[in-house]
Subunit: 467 residues, 2 copies
């Protein structure tokens, strides 16, 4: 008997641990979005969608998986990071790796030749996850692209305008800079410095580190690791020191006759001049920096490139893209010139989550009122009132109890940061009024039922001002 009691006690002690052990896990590198994160997500999506719709962009979505052959050969060495589906006796499928290949596939499937679209969706990479740095295996991308044959630099300017306005509207708490450069200028730099064109990619990938490393280190890497001639590297070093306000830098480049020796260079400078003219007309130059050290590594850019960075924050880019005239025709015999880019939406989520945690200014729910009762037999009266409030568009909750304790109702309101509680009791019902209590000023006052909605709407205005 004693043994049995002991065993029962042991069982009781280890039950929670077993429970913990049995707790179902979620796949490596993924996460659930909790209610607060979803509130942030809704807010971010609303801002981005609002600005893009204002510019006449349309939204699309594609299936989460594509035929395996659609993705094959599009990602080089990174193909090994693609999630394949099991061969269950149908087509061979893979989860989308980005939104660019599905976009090109969409254009081909629908036989479109011009299209201004955005696409916000999750993509999948079997990468080494790093949750603390926000690197997940399932993550959102937000792409905006303008595909079609248009006059030079007008869509390019609108893309930068859109990214600028989105980053502004998101209120990320620090100023941002949009660095702009051109693939043609990069080509010219390498040509004039005397480096072989075959080294374009490897040179760019070194230069690309200049936002984290000093030139001395990049110089060492170019000479020692990549075997470039010192004279060539020092010429490159001269080029990448050019950065500054767009029109000032254009003047300096002109004064220094920096690209007079290269056709690509002259073309690049001409395009940048037109771009900055257009951006100035759209009052969109103050955050833009012309920066010859910007060298986004991707091979497929053919013209303007850009990257947005938050000042002071050591989080890498929060947006970027450029012109890629040869990419979206990959599924068709026709090429469709395109310019586009993405907003680093996962980084935006992280920044806003940190902000909101500090300020407590965002809640998972939006509830404004909790209808409370004191006493017995008031459940239907409570439902009647809450229904009137819903009908007026007021965000209102109740506690799911027939006669909840006042303390429990107040606690619920405080826990969920509900700004107002509305109290119904026998006395109030007989007298035709309710008591309205503000949870953050603690002020409680009676309010006649026939003036209720007027009063509540005034209180809401006050609450939103107080926030």
């Amino acid at each position: 008997l004693h043994n049995n009691q002991l065993l029962a006690q042991i069982d009781e002690l280890i039950a929670p641990r077993n429970e913990e052990r049995r707790k179902p896990k979620i796949p490596k590198g993924t996460r659930d979005f909790n209610p607060l994160q979803m509130a942030i997500k809704r807010k971010v999506f609303k801002i981005i969608q609002g600005i893009l719709l204002q510019h006449g962009a349309v939204e699309i979505d594609t299936p989460v998986f594509e035929l395996k052959e659609t993705l094959t050969g599009k990602y080089g060495n990174d193909s090994k990071l693609i999630y394949d589906l099991d061969d269950q006796g149908g087509e061979l499928l893979s989860l989308r790796y980005d939104l660019t290949v599905p976009f090109a596939r969409f254009l081909a499937t629908q036989s479109l030749t011009n299209f201004k679209r955005f696409h916000i969706a999750k993509v999948y990479r079997r990468d080494q996850p790093n949750m603390t740095k926000g690197r997940y295996r399932e993550f959102y991308q937000c792409d905006i692209d303008i595909a079609g044959n248009y006059d030079p630099m007008i869509p390019d300017a609108e893309i930068i305008k859109v990214v600028n306005d989105i980053l502004q509207a998101l209120e990320l708490g620090s100023p941002f800079t949009i660095k702009v450069n051109s693939r043609k200028i990069l080509d010219a730099m390498i040509e004039i410095a005397g480096a072989p064109h075959s080294k374009f990619k490897t040179i760019c990938s070194s230069i690309d580190k200049l936002d984290k490393e000093p030139w001395s280190e990049v110089r060492r890497e170019l000479i020692e690791d990549k075997g470039l001639d010192v004279v060539i590297v020092d010429k490159l070093g001269h080029f990448v020191s050019y950065k500054g306000k767009p029109f000032e830098l254009l003047q300096k480049i002109k004064d220094d006759k920096l690209f007079d020796a290269s056709e690509a260079g002259r073309q690049g400078v001409q395009e940048m001049t037109l771009l900055f003219d257009y951006l100035e007309a759209m009052n969109c130059l103050s955050n833009v920096s012309f920066d010859l050290s910007l060298a986004r590594g991707l091979d497929y850019y053919t013209g303007m490139i850009y990257e947005a960075v938050l000042e002071g924050a050591n989080i890498g880019s929060i947006g970027g893209g450029g012109r890629y005239d040869g990419l979206v025709g990959m599924f068709s015999s026709k090429q469709i010139p395109s310019v586009g880019g993405s907003v680093g939406i996962e980084r935006v989520f992280n920044i806003l989550e940190e902000q909101y945690k500090k300020k407590l200014s965002i809640r998972a729910t939006e509830t404004e009122f909790l209808v409370c009762t004191v006493g017995n037999g008031l459940c239907k009266e409570k439902l009647r009132l809450v229904n009137e409030m819903w009908a007026r568009g007021l965000k209102t909750e109740i506690i799911y109890s027939e006669k909840p304790k006042p303390r429990k109702q107040l606690d619920y309101a405080y826990e969920n940061q509900i700004p107002f509680t509305i109290w119904l009791g026998e006395e109030e019902i007989k007298g035709g009024f309710v008591k309205v209590k503000c949870t953050y000023t603690k002020v409680e006052e009676p309010c006649p039922r026939d003036k209720l909605f007027e009063t509540l709407e005034q209180k809401l205005v006050q609450y939103h001002d107080d926030l």
Copy 2:
């Protein structure tokens, strides 16, 4: 030479056909969402989210895949429809099959014991697709559930209220009915009729056909195919004839002493009475029908069940659910009583898409103005104006040409149903005005630049009234 010419001609002739053949496909049973469908989707999500947030529900999201073991054993025979991911040397994963199992997993992972959440996301089933009937392998579900220990029928009533208000707000063009019944009443019917409890599921699946088939056919099936005694079946036939307005039917059941012989029956009737009381208090009875022939087949319901159907439309249910007190504890030793359901969001998409195609009242873009130019050298002037309009929140586009032809600009406005074009030419710029043309009334009038926004905002009000 002739042969070569002929071959070249043949090549030219078949090129488009080869192109068509090479056209990339999308996976079987899936579809792209085009811009119009996305506009509908945004509208539907906004309505649903708005109502749910008004009720203090929170939103969550989970990864598109779960550990295979999380899904194993949850779907019985339908398990064969689950998409598995390829074993690429990590965890074994499967795409989510519904949102219920991920919800239960979420509650267990986060150790929650009460939660009012909604979840709108895509789920995946390797079913035989039927695109014309809207059955896809990738499709949206929209679930709302209230989990937690609460007083009887209060959360149940709110779930029906929410579904009622969502269906009302969606304006689906036909009246709808929410049929309500109870698992306890179904149990009592089978008990009183004298059928063995082991036949519960098979009897319910026959009764469930009564919305499509007459009783005579269901009767035949129960007797001939399912081997039930004629006397039992006729007693069941008596029960399922009970349907009507909630309080009238409750009275009739009472008058006929229909469930006096069954404890489960008396409990079920008592719960329904309370439910209808609460629904009446929330002014939510007019679309509700109490219907003893409603027998949602799912085994896991334990209390109230409901199903929403559109009148006149032969499309099956557009929502349904019920109470399932034993389900969401599947990953934990604790059970969490829950009530919930779903809105048939894919059917809603289809209905609204048909509606909008007829009425043309929804567009893929929301653009209100197209800024147009006549003449050369006006590109920057155009960008300046469009930027002012964006800054005022006006939805405005331009054509990406330096000097587009007037015809081309007008065509673009007509094709995209942009209601107003704004014209800039040398004369207008000198005179400090623009011309504003309405594309649907064809009225064109000059407008001074310093009165422009006032005028445009008036015109927008008129446009929205005209819609």
